[in-house]
């Protein structure tokens, strides 16, 4: 008898257990909890925004989003910035795919579930949320399409195992279909949402419009400039490339979206009359007075931190964790701006064209004293004052006789041939030691004092390798109020400006110019572009365009974009969508500026040359489209790989 009891007991357990399985566990948040109250919905959105793929201080070229390490940031691939840790070009393929579809699924789940709970709220509130979910979905699809071209568009929330594999595996839509899907989704979001955000950092009608201007500009650029057209043989969908005939439509949509943002009361930041301080402060002002900030990602000491100051801080101000000097703007970038000393032929006046010899400057900063305020707010110059200290950058000391002037060192005259040891065989110069181990030598000066051949912050330093290699530091985003004790790991919380009004104006000006080129004249696009560019230049303190006729090429607008949006993780995507990266960055060695002290007269000379490390950057054409992660193709065999 005993033998039969156990099976019976087990059977009993199974039968009773079956009855209980219908009860949902208490420890999992259920729809009725999340969707029935404002607090629940806010929490749901907190999750969505947290996963939103924003390329902020935590995005790097190797690992993608949410990384501690911002050293290999994508600005190192465009000529904006250089770093001793980034020795060459990269495809920057971060494999962002699976995480994107998590965000898309969660947004879709919200869109499908919310209507059933809508009776709890007023309609305007519900519409705002439905618009926000579409904004988040669009933002995420855009991050995919700008990397891969056409990607699968999920028809809604998918369920496994309720749905079969065949049904779950979706082939890629064409690149055009994805851009059109985003455009339509954002139109709906714009229609649904209110003019103001529910909380700071969340979307509203105009933020969706700003995103649309960005997305449509990308779509138009791909249609116009892409030449690599690849279709999925199984479906016929053109997964890489958009027919050129679509370009005008996209540029017009970009223009219209940008005009819509203008009606939202946004304007360039002009809080302070000092244009340099004003541009610098733009990135720190989170108050409602900052009408330029459209979409900002904020951080806080307790909840979300990054380490930007740690990485970017000049060596002489570094904190106890030891990092410093990883973000070094190139001279190629600095030279884009107005107000630098130039010869009559336009060349940078490191060498005086009338004598063919080096020009003298009273101190390092006198080289930059007339520079465009926006440049001074973006880049920290040798001799600039920051946090109460003078940035000390020196490549060496010239000790020779200067009665006959100083002739150019090898490699410092256009076209600046690559030279690896320009100062080594010159008996007149004592260079800072080019080594990470040795301190640079002290030099006796004629006035009896001693001076270190290298500066405290570069180049090739006094105490170690943590110095600038270009002669410059990034100032944009670097917090001048942060005490040295806080320049440590995970102790930065200045906001990330993901979208600001200057970008919208630049989007608009670029779309304007593309429409002029395409022969469109339904609006005076030339005048509109002129107004946008001069608005930006005026705020920057740059030289204004004299008339609309000065818009002689698309490069006027593109260069304005580089200057205005530098170090904001944007230009990489721009040179890719313009399809100019391969031509621009081809066996290229970035230019640097070496300040050298002249012992005989106590002045400085500036040596412009290609980086002595002679690291060459080449962008490969095959990088315009990233490779879909192979693991995703294994899961979904209907995906065709990019070429």
């Amino acid at each position: 008898m005993k033998k039969f009891i156990y099976p019976l007991l087990i059977l009993l357990c199974i039968v009773t257990a079956c009855n209980k399985l219908g009860i949902l566990p208490d420890n999992i948040v259920q729809d009725k909890d999340a969707f029935a109250s404002t607090g629940g919905v806010t929490a749901y959105f907190a999750g969505l925004y947290n996963r939103l793929p924003i390329e902020d201080f935590k995005y790097n070229m190797n690992n993608g989003y949410n990384q501690f390490n911002y050293i290999p940031n994508i600005n190192n691939l465009t000529g904006e910035s250089m770093s001793r840790e980034v020795g060459g070009a990269s495809a920057a393929q971060t494999g962002y795919w699976g995480d994107a579809y998590v965000v898309i699924r969660n947004a879709n789940y919200f869109l499908e579930t919310m209507p059933a709970y809508a009776f709890n709220f007023n309609q305007s509130q519900v519409n705002q949320w439905l618009g926000e979910a579409r904004f988040i979905r669009s933002f995420t699809y855009f991050e995919l399409v700008k990397r891969y071209g056409g990607v699968p568009i999920t028809p809604g929330v998918q369920y496994y195992p309720q749905q079969g594999l065949e049904e779950l595996q979706i082939p890629r839509s064409s690149e055009q279909q994805v851009y059109d899907y985003i455009g339509k989704d954002l139109d709906t979001a714009i229609m649904l949402m209110n003019n103001t955000s529910e909380q700071r950092g969340r979307a509203n009608k105009f933020i969706a419009a700003a995103l649309k201007s960005r997305v449509m500009l990308f779509a138009g650029s791909i249609a116009k400039y892409n030449n690599k057209n690849i279709s999925d043989p199984a479906t016929g969908a053109q997964v890489q490339g958009i027919p050129a005939t679509e370009a005008v439509r996209y540029f017009k949509e970009c223009y219209a979206a940008a005009k819509l943002v203008e009606t939202g009361g946004y304007a360039l930041y002009r809080a302070s009359a000092n244009k340099e301080e004003n541009y610098y402060n733009l990135f720190f002002d989170v108050s409602s007075a900052n009408k330029e900030a459209i979409f900002m990602k904020e951080y806080s000491d307790l909840n979300a931190v990054h380490s930007f100051d740690l990485f970017a801080i000049p060596n002489q101000m570094k904190g106890k964790d030891g990092y410093s000097s990883y973000m070094n703007p190139t001279l190629d970038y600095v030279e884009l701006f107005d107000g630098l000393p130039r010869n009559a032929d336009g060349s940078l006046k490191t060498i005086d064209a009338t004598t063919g010899q080096y020009a003298y400057y009273d101190n390092p900063y006198s080289f930059f004293q007339n520079a465009e305020p926006r440049l001074l707010a973006t880049v920290l110059m040798p001799g600039a004052t920051f946090k109460g200290q003078v940035i000390d950058i020196r490549r060496g000391i010239y000790k020779g006789d200067i009665a006959g002037g100083i002739n150019p060192f090898p490699g410092s005259v256009s076209p600046f041939p690559n030279t690896t040891n320009p100062y080594a065989n010159n008996p007149n110069i004592v260079p800072a030691v080019n080594s990470s181990n040795l301190p640079s030598p002290m030099v006796d000066l004629p006035n009896g004092q001693k001076m270190n051949a290298g500066g405290l912050s570069g180049t090739y330093g006094t105490t170690g390798g943590s110095v600038t290699i270009s002669g410059f530091f990034q100032r944009k985003y670097l917090d001048q109020r942060k005490p040295v004790a806080d320049v440590i790991v995970n102790k930065s919380f200045q906001p990330w400006m993901e979208m600001r009004y200057a970008e919208v104006l630049l989007n608009r000006a670029e779309a304007d110019y593309e429409l002029i080129t395409a022969g469109q004249n339904d609006v005076d696009y030339r005048q509109d572009a002129y107004t946008c560019i001069n608005d930006i230049r005026d705020r920057a303190g740059a030289t204004l365009l004299a008339s609309a006729a000065d818009l002689t090429s698309i490069n006027v607008i593109r260069n304005e974009r580089r200057k205005e949006l530098g170090f904001e993780n944007k230009i990489w995507w721009d040179i890719k969508r313009w399809r100019t990266a391969d031509a621009e960055i081809q066996n290229r060695v970035w230019l640097v500026l070496n300040p050298i002290y002249v012992a005989a007269n106590g002045k400085y000379i500036f040596d412009k040359r290609r980086y002595e490390g002679n690291q060459q950057f080449t962008f490969q054409s095959m990088w315009y489209y990233e490779q879909i992660p192979n693991g995703e193709i294994t899961k979904n065999p209907k995906l065709v790989q990019n070429q």
Partner: protein, 241 residues
């Protein structure tokens, strides 16, 4: 238990290792010889057809050597669709209109040989021998002509590059930027030089008493890959001081 774990670790994968060989050449139709390229200048694309009818198969690639030959002795047995791509030649496969498919489908088993014929964008030829000048530079003469009669692939000539290197890998992928010299052309200026003999000289002063390799690459505004077509590398002896 411990024994079981240890012995499990020692077990080999029970699948046979890939041992088939695919070898062959990419022939330049303008010369009848294998096409001259650079390291990673041409990729050979393989799509396996014997699994799932080729659907969902991740394409494999391997590089064609700079001398235009290829060899891979570690492939799994199977049926593959194969074609070279990314080089400075008229593409063999296009997927948008006009759709072209000049790939080859082969069963790879044992040693399988394949040969592809391509039309280069440009044919680059030496004219005479490189000359060493007294100032330790090298002057070469060369000419380039169209390698294809298809007008859709006759792009503007953008530049000619005299490459200098200490190895015979000399090319855009490996050169000394202190000595190599690039001549760029604006718009259609370069097209006027098609078929003409042009002369280029190296930059800087070449260090004495050793052999350098020189080679000329010429390129068109090819709308996708922007690779160079090359002539064959030539060694040049620079006499000592």
């Amino acid at each position: 238990m411990g024994l079981a774990l240890l012995s499990a670790c020692a077990k080999n994968d029970n699948y046979e290792e890939p041992a088939e060989t695919l070898t062959g050449r990419v022939i330049d139709n303008s010369t009848g010889q294998p096409i001259q390229t650079e390291s990673a200048g041409i990729r050979l694309r393989l799509e396996e057809q014997s699994w799932n009818n080729g659907q969902g198969v991740i394409p494999q690639y391997f590089n064609v050597k700079p001398d235009g030959t290829f060899n891979n002795s570690r492939l799994f047995k199977g049926k593959y669709k194969v074609y070279p791509m990314d080089g400075a030649f008229v593409p063999l496969v296009t997927t948008t209109t006009p759709v072209i498919d000049n790939s080859k489908t082969v069963d790879i088993s044992g040693v399988t040989s394949l040969e592809f014929n391509v039309d280069p964008f440009l044919k680059v030829e030496w004219v005479g021998e490189p000359v060493v000048n007294p100032d330790k530079t090298i002057t070469v003469q060369c000419k380039f002509t169209r390698g294809t009669t298809n007008p859709a692939y006759q792009f503007n000539v953008t530049d000619v590059f005299l490459y200098v290197s200490t190895t015979d890998f000399v090319s855009n992928a490996s050169y000394d930027n202190r000595f190599s010299n690039q001549v760029k052309y604006n718009g259609t200026d370069g097209n006027a030089l098609l078929g003409q003999t042009i002369s280029i000289t190296t930059k800087g002063t070449l260090g004495g008493s050793r052999t350098y390799y020189v080679r000329v690459g010429a390129r068109t505004a090819d709308n996708v890959n922007k690779r160079y077509n090359y002539n064959t590398p030539k060694p040049v002896n620079i006499p000592g001081a």
